[in-house]
Point group: C2
Chain length 419, copies 2
């Protein structure tokens, strides 16, 4: 039967993400993948989960397997509230909404807030999963200019002042894909802006516990509590396969989110929520987190050191104090898609950065590198190969390929490379 | 801040379900609840789940806690495919999509198919959770006339022939709320109609394994495989809190469902999918199902016997061979909302049936009774009290309250009661 004619308007605009193809390539045998964005299996407290399963079945019995409130399993909501107090977010458990991964918050936010044509302000580049959650509701995206510290408040101010943004979506700490962290001054400036212009901010904070150096910064939620939907997850510090996310939203927003979630999945797995509650209540996160950090810290350092060693000097990259990603920018005119093809032939995969930009044609000279999956030796090997591939691609670029003055500028920049 | 102005158009039309309030009342201490629609905790294979958890952790290790394919955990997809062969649905595991409860299918179906104003054909009454999933996408509902065997093919034919329905949504077996089952002849007639008019059918089949007597009927999916999205769940025969649903859809539809699900929750809990796979693969469902049936069968019989014993003779009810519900219709003019209020004062809760009708003002004389939660003695007690309450409410109804000939007819019907 002719299915195409059945599709909703929103569906006709969707397309399969090319990044899925990249991740398929990246999972081929023999490939060193810097392409993923997933935690290392070694970071999961596997032995503990067996114990917690037994504890939960003993403690809650059938309650852990029965339908439950859409809002979430109360012991987990209370445990999350206690956990968030350590981030300067002080709310009672009743205000926490548990979702099926933080993706579940983003979908519900899109559903309750976005009418077709509405404007959503996003970082540029931004988290692709958020675009996938929002786009079915047919928004337009306003990219907010960013530098190495994340979005620039002075650039945001005039965009907010126009009053046309339904909400702003930010990942202020160790952002995916850029690894960048918004400074304290900027957090304060943004908090003041959203309060002044009564603008809603979705603050997505999946990585903040993965800090390998430096000091924690307060979430914007703690600076402008009535204007922020704070989104968190246990995927990076417990186990992503359990799909436990959560949010703290101003009450009217929370009520709508609950209503919408009921239609989407009734509620999140009770058993998994009970496991997560036991993990937090038992102090296991505090005990286990240092092991995760000890696993990732050497990988992050290996990547930064290898980039220094092997990448052309006219390439720039972020120096994140945590998270899972390093963001690399080649000189203007760098054709990262071509470098990607050459890298895959050398058994190294990464994600070309242009996928993360809300407007097409941007970020063609960028790449996202993940350091949580490969070990330090693999990272060194992969970055070494990537450096070679980049030089080969830059050197063999036909003169004038990029056209005109821009092309010459790039060629000249490429000439700076001294290895 | 003024949140109302931020809401999407679709959200402004949503309202909190009054049925939630009823379920709150029903959960008060001392109340015998016939209001819920949930499995008895005693039906969960609790000891087994502990064993399965250990097995899964041993067998899959970190893989059970890692991100996984949006389509679902392959061992579960294969196990579901094998399970469905017993229902005359013969498909390879690769064609199964696992979702977060069957609710997850319904939301995704709504998202990919419904543009605002599109028409969806539904039984009248229909399953409320489906309306909650579809309504945010702003469809109009076309109620399809039903009798005691479910929807009437002769009534469906002219509605389909108009060609305006995006899809039809049906629960053909032990329907929620009516308990009714579509006969084999009607299944064949509907299969022929949807094939003839190239119409898509969503066949929601959560209760078919809960058969206490009689013989299984083939799903419509087996009669018109290319025109049906078949939706199933393990919530009634394993544990609802694990939130495992699935669907078998024609390939183009399935591809869109996967794309949309990725934006909603990335994938369903890997651990819970692995548990469900172990439950099916190990033959545990076949072994455990008879225990569930032995638990529910006496409850269903107790309810039907008590209705015969205590309810007015001019009340009619369904005689389902399985499932979780009995549907009661009072004579026209019966004010079930008033009976509900009086019943709650006597510590018995049920759901007035009008909630399940897509058009308001219908089904005011109907009620849904659940028999899976209370035990046979509680059921007898509750139906006894309900019978008393109904008689009191019918007797004390002021003459002419319903107005005109209709009111007189009702009063006259009420007069038939001989107890």
């Amino acid at each position: 039967m002719p299915f195409e004619k059945l599709l909703a308007h929103r569906t006709r605009q969707m397309s399969r993400s090319a990044i899925r193809e990249i991740l398929k390539v990246a999972s081929q045998p023999g490939m060193i993948s810097l392409a993923g964005g997933i935690p290392a299996p070694a970071s999961f407290p596997l032995d503990l989960i067996g114990d917690l399963s037994r504890q939960v079945i003993d403690k809650y019995a059938d309650r852990a397997f029965q339908y439950d409130l859409t809002e979430g399993f109360m012991p987990l909501r209370q445990a999350v509230a206690a956990h968030l107090a350590g981030r300067d977010i002080h709310v009672p458990g009743e205000t926490i909404l548990i979702t099926s991964g933080s993706q579940g918050v983003l979908d519900a936010v899109g559903k309750i807030l976005i009418s077709p044509g509405d404007t959503v302000g996003v970082e540029s580049p931004t988290y692709l999963g958020a675009l996938q959650a929002f786009s079915p509701y047919e928004p337009r995206y306003t990219p907010i200019p960013c530098d190495h510290e994340g979005i620039i408040p002075e650039a945001l101010a005039p965009l907010i002042a126009k009053g046309r943004m339904k909400f702003i979506y930010l990942v202020p700490t160790f952002q995916n894909p850029s690894g960048r962290t918004l400074s304290l001054d900027r957090r304060r400036a943004i908090a003041a802006l959203i309060e002044r212009y009564d603008t809603l901010l979705i603050e997505d904070d999946p990585y903040c516990d993965l800090r390998y150096e430096g000091h924690a910064l307060p979430p914007i939620k703690s600076l402008a509590p009535e204007h922020v939907v704070y989104v968190g997850t246990l995927s990076k510090v417990f186990a992503p396969g359990l799909r436990i996310g959560y949010c703290v939203a101003p009450e009217p927003i929370r009520n709508w989110l609950v209503l919408v979630k009921q239609g989407v999945d009734l509620h999140t797995s009770t058993f998994n929520q009970a496991l997560a509650a036991a993990y937090l209540e038992g102090g296991h996160l505090q005990r286990h987190l240092p092991r995760i950090l000890d696993l990732y810290r050497p990988r992050q350092r290996a990547m930064l050191a290898a980039l220094d060693r092997y990448f052309p000097v006219d390439f720039r990259w972020s120096h994140p104090e945590g998270g899972m990603f390093v963001w690399v920018e080649g000189p203007e005119g760098t054709d990262m898609a071509k470098i990607y093809q050459a890298a895959v032939r050398r058994q190294v995969a990464f994600v070309p950065g242009h996928f993360f930009f809300p407007k097409s044609g941007e970020g063609l000279n960028t790449m996202r590198l993940n350091f949580t999956m490969p070990d330090p030796a693999e990272i060194d090997d992969a970055i070494h190969k990537l450096g070679d591939v980049i030089r080969e691609c830059m050197d063999c670029r036909p003169s004038g390929q990029s056209g005109g003055a821009k092309g010459q500028q790039n060629a000249s920049r490429a000439g700076i490379k001294v290895f």
